[in-house]
Symmetry: C2
Amino acid sequence: MAGTFVARLRAKLDAGHAPVCIGLDPRLEALPAHLLPDAAPAVRISAFCREVLAAVGAHTPVVKPNIAFFERYGAAGFAAYEDTCRHARAQGLLVIGDVKRGDIGTTAQAYAEVHLDLADAVTLHPLLGKDSVEPFLQRCATTGGAVFVLVRTSNASATELQAHKDSAGEELSDAIARCVHQWGLGLGDARDYSSVGAVVGATYAHELLRLRARMPRALILLPGVGAQGAMVKDALGAFDANGMGGLVNQSRGVTQCFAPQDPDWLAQVASAAQSFARALRDAMRTRGPAGATP
Amino acid sequence: MAGTFVARLRAKLDAGHAPVCIGLDPRLEALPAHLLPDAAPAVRISAFCREVLAAVGAHTPVVKPNIAFFERYGAAGFAAYEDTCRHARAQGLLVIGDVKRGDIGTTAQAYAEVHLDLADAVTLHPLLGKDSVEPFLQRCATTGGAVFVLVRTSNASATELQAHKDSAGEELSDAIARCVHQWGLGLGDARDYSSVGAVVGATYAHELLRLRARMPRALILLPGVGAQGAMVKDALGAFDANGMGGLVNQSRGVTQCFAPQDPDWLAQVASAAQSFARALRDAMRTRGPAGATP
């Protein structure tokens, strides 16, 4: 294998990349109008993602296709997802497959086999406990892959169950964060971040420092900036003094930043990705003192 | 639409079916050895499922393909899942797509569109709260479909997070069960079961009556019988006095009940499905008094 996800990400940040992630959520109604207008939906989505990858590759170390928007078009859509992952990796980008799978052990193994082959890392539901994560961890140990476990999602109703409090006032998200830390022990370099990362919505910035304390070795993927209302600065609590520890995601703000009729859409996508990376770099430079490295 | 999932299931039980569900988890290593041995995995799986559907159709009202075992083979596998759903429905079977999806609202809509078109009902993760379920409920209102929300899964590590207790001693599973009840209000006939069902592993039989009380109108899908260790009698707490209210699932016990070399495998599959239905009918007939109808 070509090193762990953490090591590969670190090399990209050392080479000058900002710790950002561009989400690919291709919606048919938001594609450039003149991009293969008569082709099948899955073909259009695939073509769109290839163009976007070429445009954002210089500005992000990581992309995150959300499989729902591909799977929406059945088997052809699944093929478009495979194509997008393949092209991104061929370009040297790290790919987080936003698949949010979660099933019992024997079934999780089937998911792990396909999704950690297609992508470098995947997002996972923790509700079924360690059984459902273990097959992915075993796969990561051989592929160098990683998982990002949902700890606190970015949506409005996230707290309905994730804030379920125990008698000590700890929320379910805290318990999940402790599991993330436990599951990551022994995976990867013990002095560095582990292969078991977490998803914490930047829309819940006030929870971030507390959750970070529960899982000091987890790489934190932070969705929710932009359309969902969070700002880049809301994500800063995930990062250590060296600018490592988090990945701030932007989806619609980059890949839907243009009017469908605009012929210059791709230049706008590239520019939005560049601005997003710069905004994060600026915010990191001007912030106060950060937490310790793991 | 051809009536709600609940109404269609009730009609099947009235016609003499037992409230069982046969799970389709096709593992390549457990397929009949002589079934298209040289074909691609997805083709073999598709052929296997068609044969199984024809064999079990007389003995079950519902089948539950788990998409992980199809998706395992990428786009071709996804096409095999579509084919399996289509064949099952053409045969008049109700199909629960065991997809366990769960994502934020705008993304859940994409999943709802494809998965409630392919199947009559789907399984869902509740961790993201109502946002993530609502797009499925809207779709159910027009298609007559249903959802089965994971409340207590059948695996060993289920309690790691699902038994997270609040200060009153209530577990996360209880909180999810209350959500299931809330989400189902106003969906379907108010005097009957709702379109929002639940998954409760029969392996946690001692939790079943308590969870049933929290969600009196939920149809409960009960996996875990057979290979996972639960018995048919462990599922009885889900049923009302009329034998409605639950669906007891059997997967490996039917579809992997034969040796791969056995030429009579299909007769064994049919016989296992018939025995399973009979065992549940017998258990229901001899049990003590049941709970009230919803």
